[in-house]
Symmetry: C2
Subunit: 207 residues, 2 copies
């Protein structure tokens, strides 16, 4: 059985939703980041990066959201979470997810995790200040180049949708005005209404 | 036919090598970043992110190195550049490539591209200062958790290898001492001796 290590309000939610979408059997284990549980030795043995999410599979351990999402899509093909037999269409979804991981999520991380990239307090403040601009630029790109209809990429629901939804829930916290991005906003509302999203959110915040 | 837009000394090299490894028919088009050719209107129409690489395929345009590498592996299965029929083994390669894109390359980018994340000159200098530490931490993780033998991930050559090689050529420029990472260093030397790597490097720097 699969086991997802997650923390609340992190990108772990994307894989959690995808596991629900896939109809997978899985368990979840919450880490309290504020209590530093991601640095506990038992967790570091599973994920030496001390980050979430981590997915324990029957074959071994996986990290990095884009890789986990593709694994879920490929392991549960009947759920049709990616166009598995069309390398170009699959790559467009991976392109989108890779952009979310390496550009949008990274822009966002400069608000709370500036100490990853500088030690100086004023530098960390300067990074924080630019976040509304950099994150808005990412959403402007997504609004312009993706979301051709109801879904993030192409005309079907895919592993791109829970990932976009997850990062789009951070807009207000990042000082981004969602009304500037009506397609992203409509996607977020559409996603929030889905039973698999509601189930994942409920389970992540249940005690 | 495929067409790769690239710039010298960028992560474009990874996809270029993979195309050589795949035995693909492709052309290359060099962009001069110093001359701002990546902001020319004709290029922005192809890649509105104004970044390299971009791969023009018969089906459409692709960006983001991890997605391009997976596309190359899937489009040329006979080259065996990824374990395409094993979702977990494929995901391990994608995990590695995603880490390179969203953590190692991002750490490196704080040396020359700090203006992406802060406007203040002192903040940009503070980011630059931390790069030897952050990039070294990434290579320490790779040295410890990957490179089980000759190759980056698993026991076969894959799309992870040209990507690691490409980013490993930046170590000295980032103030990282390669002698601290003997496995990464040996991998870089092994890669540099491969004919496909020599061909890609030659073609990228030919006039």
């Amino acid at each position: 059985m699969l086991k997802l290590y997650y923390a609340q309000n992190t990108c772990s939610l994307a894989s959690h939703i995808a596991l629900e979408d896939a109809g997978a059997e899985f368990s979840i284990h919450r880490l309290n980041i504020a209590a530093n549980e991601h640095h506990a030795l038992a967790y570091l043995a599973i994920n030496p990066k001390a980050r979430v999410p981590t997915l324990v599979t029957p074959s071994g351990i996986l990290t990095e959201t884009p890789a986990m999402l593709a694994y879920i899509a490929q392991t549960f093909p009947q759920a049709e979470l990616a166009p598995l037999n069309d390398p170009y269409a699959f790559a467009k979804i991976q392109e989108f997810n890779s952009y979310l991981a390496s550009t949008l999520h990274v822009a966002h991380a400069h608000r709370m995790r500036g100490n990853r990239w500088a030690d100086d307090e004023n530098a960390i403040l300067a990074m924080k200040k630019k976040v509304p601009e950099t994150v808005s630029a990412c959403f402007a790109y997504i609004e312009s180049e993706f979301l051709p209809g109801q879904f993030a990429v192409g005309d079907s629901y895919s592993i791109a949708d829970p990932y976009l939804f997850t990062l789009a829930t951070w807009m207000e916290g990042d000082g981004v005005d969602p009304s500037r991005f009506p397609k992203v906003y409509a996607h977020r509302e559409m996603m929030r209404a889905r039973p698999t999203v509601q189930k994942a959110l409920h389970d992540q915040f249940a005690d």
